[in-house]
Amino acid sequence: MKTYKQVFSELKRAALIPFFVIGDPDFDTSLKIVKAAIDAGADILELGIPFSDPIADGPTIQKADIRSLKSGINVQKALKFIRKLKDYKDIPIGLLMYYNLVYQYGIENFFTDFQQAGVNSVLVADLSIDDADEIIAPAASAGLDTVFMVTPNTNTQRMKLIASKTTGFIYAVSLLGVTGSREKLSDMVETLVGKLKGLTRVPVCVGFGISRAEHAVMVASAGADGVIIGSKIVQLIEENLDSREKILSEISSFLTSVKNSIPLRS
């Protein structure tokens, strides 16, 4: 199974990491969409299992969660989804979760079952580093990497603590706020990435609000190891719900253009 470490060391530029809600708008279409993203050059995938109360997400991903839940997605189907993806291509997958779904499944079981299905890490959006011990040991014994978030208001001491507990990559949140596409890239990104890079050798991937190729270029130029794009892509699904073909072509061409504009590392 391909690891984050392999991807980051092989790549000569920042990794392209699209985010999808599993099952948006339904299981089969969602599978086609994610495969199209892989074909368009995704290096790593971030996938979410929909939750009824996604407090870290803006309206775009909230609506995707609702579409997916309505189509009947649950944790068992998400496992099946990931197995099918891994049959298609061995690409690292990070899950983005809200804690209650993991907790109800049973933390150990959740980690073990998803690792076996082909997941590399489970980021729990509403579990801070202060309570990380609830998941670190189960993650390690299941063979998963850890991924934690750092935000522009995280202090230096916490950044160091977070880095010390991270084995996969640090998910650097570009702004103070929830997910959602934005016209402008947050002016906090460069400082945040620069600071993290000065503190740790753990790879740093940036997400939240990255909506255009030029945003990705700026993030990559700031020194990030990966660029996570969520709401913008999910929006392309939402805007083209009447045509499955159009969803695939739009996402494919968007990701291709982003991929091609990310500069090689100097």
């Binding site: 939750f51 009824s52 109360d53 996604p54 407090i55 870290a56 997400d57 803006g58 909230q62 839940l69 649950n74 944790v75 804690y99 209650n100 779904l101 907790y103 109800q104 499944y105 959006a125 509403d126 579990l127 801070s128 580093i129 202060d130 309570d131 934690f148 978030m149 750092v150 935000t151 208001n153 995280t154 202090n155 916490r158 949140v173 702004l175 103070l176 706020g177 929830v178």
Partner: protein, 396 residues
């Protein structure tokens, strides 16, 4: 954070990283000021002159005759704003002022907490935004209007079931983007640490007064203290003074909605399972997977799928007992108190009264029950009228 904010295994602060600095700042400020002489003096003065504390303990003679034992009402309904909520909003509002914050946000269900926040927003000259579900805006329109009159902006929340849960989701999202200058004035004794502790502290005046009033006016402690439980702020407020008095039964009454069997209710402690929502571990109404249910209750203020962490612990240790009252019985109790005492209770508080009605003929006539009458029912007249048109009510 300095403290874990746990009640047994319940509580904690399960929030995205971006909110941690704001919670740390809040925790730090609370422990710095809550016993500070200047802060305490100012809050006591406001509680007295602005809110109208102490609230009376009233012996409801005719209601008592109906149920067959002695019922005392702790009249939080007489406070400014019409509910206990002002105790907490004055406390947190003052804390916001001491912290130098200039903007307040709050969620609200029934609109009582929203109104109480709008009031202190006006009092302290702070810009105030109230997040409220669209269903609640519709059923509590009078409170919405009052909030606006106090200068607050009311933000309608469409998502989910359009009730308190969704209002909290969006208030948290808004706070995430405005953490640096905005104080989130949380309304119930739930949510992430330090809110359960802060809200309990500012509501504990209810219990302290009640306990002393019982000793002074009745000459002894009551046999039971009864309060409604949504998030649980009025209940923890009155319970807190009696927790060490082992002979005093503590009874929390949740919203049984249409019925427990129908699944259309908000009886979290009675029918829920432990989970994590809105930053805390607590009992939670959810499906097998962990998706949170939309709740249903005639009272907007109790329409919430989680519950304060300390109540979870009190349930598990058996120190408090939690039951549910169904909508129809609540409406009966609303009518009964109105007719027997000339006091219109909030539908939330009417849940506690409904429990007493269910005990009719089952308790010794010397039994003393204290009910936290946490709010007045003016806001609910429209809802009651809808369920029980007056012609029908007068026949009962």
């Amino acid at each position: 954070m300095k403290y874990k904010g746990r009640f047994g295994d319940y509580g904690g602060f399960y929030v995205p990283e971006v909110l941690i600095p704001a919670l740390e700042e809040l925790e730090d400020a609370f422990y710095r000021f809550y016993e500070d002489v200047r802060f305490v003096t100012e809050l006591e003065q406001l509680s007295k002159d602005y809110a109208g504390r102490p609230s009376p303990l009233y012996y409801a003679k005719r209601f008592s005759e109906y149920v067959g034992f002695k019922v005392y009402l702790k009249r939080e309904d007489l406070l400014h704003g019409g509910a206990h909520k002002v105790n907490n909003t004055l406390g947190q509002g003052l804390l916001a002022k001491y912290m130098g914050k200039t903007k307040l946000i709050a969620e609200t269900g029934a609109g009582q907490h929203g109104l109480a926040t709008a009031m202190v927003g006006a009092l302290f000259g702070m810009e105030t935004k109230i997040f409220m579900g669209v269903i609640d805006i519709e059923r509590q329109s009078v409170n919405v209007h009052k909030m606006k009159l106090c200068g607050a902006e009311v933000i309608p929340i469409e998502g989910g079931s359009g009730t308190l849960k969704d209002a909290i989701n969006d208030a948290l999202r808004y706070w995430t983007a405005h953490v640096s200058d905005t104080f989130y004035l949380f309304g119930s004794a739930c949510g992430p640490h330090p809110y359960p502790t802060i809200v309990k502290h500012f509501q504990s005046c209810i219990g302290k007064e009640t306990r002393q009033q019982c000793l002074d006016e009745i000459g002894k402690l009551p046999d039971m203290v009864v309060a409604c439980v949504g998030g649980g702020s009025n209940a923890i407020g009155i319970f807190s003074a009696f927790i060490e008095d082992k002979d005093v039964k503590l009874i929390g009454v949740e919203a049984g909605g249409r019925s427990l069997d129908s699944g259309k209710h908000a009886a979290t402690l009675v029918a829920g399972r432990v989970g994590i929502l809105h930053g805390a571990k607590s009992y939670l109404l959810q499906d097998k997977q962990g998706q949170v249910y939309d709740t249903e209750s005639v009272s907007a203020g109790l329409d919430y799928p989680a519950v304060g962490p300390e109540h979870c612990l009190l349930k598990d240790t058996g120190r408090a007992q939690y039951v549910a009252a169904e909508d129809e019985d609540v409406l009966d109790a609303f009518e009964l108190l109105s007719k027997s005492e000339g006091i219109l209770p909030a539908l939330e508080s009417a849940h506690a009264l409904a429990y007493l009605c269910s005990q009719k003929g089952k308790l010794d006539k010397e039994t003393i029950a204290v009910v936290n009458l946490s709010g007045r029912g003016d806001k609910d007249v429209g809802i009651v009228e809808k369920h029980r048109p007056l012609e029908q009510a007068s026949d009962r």
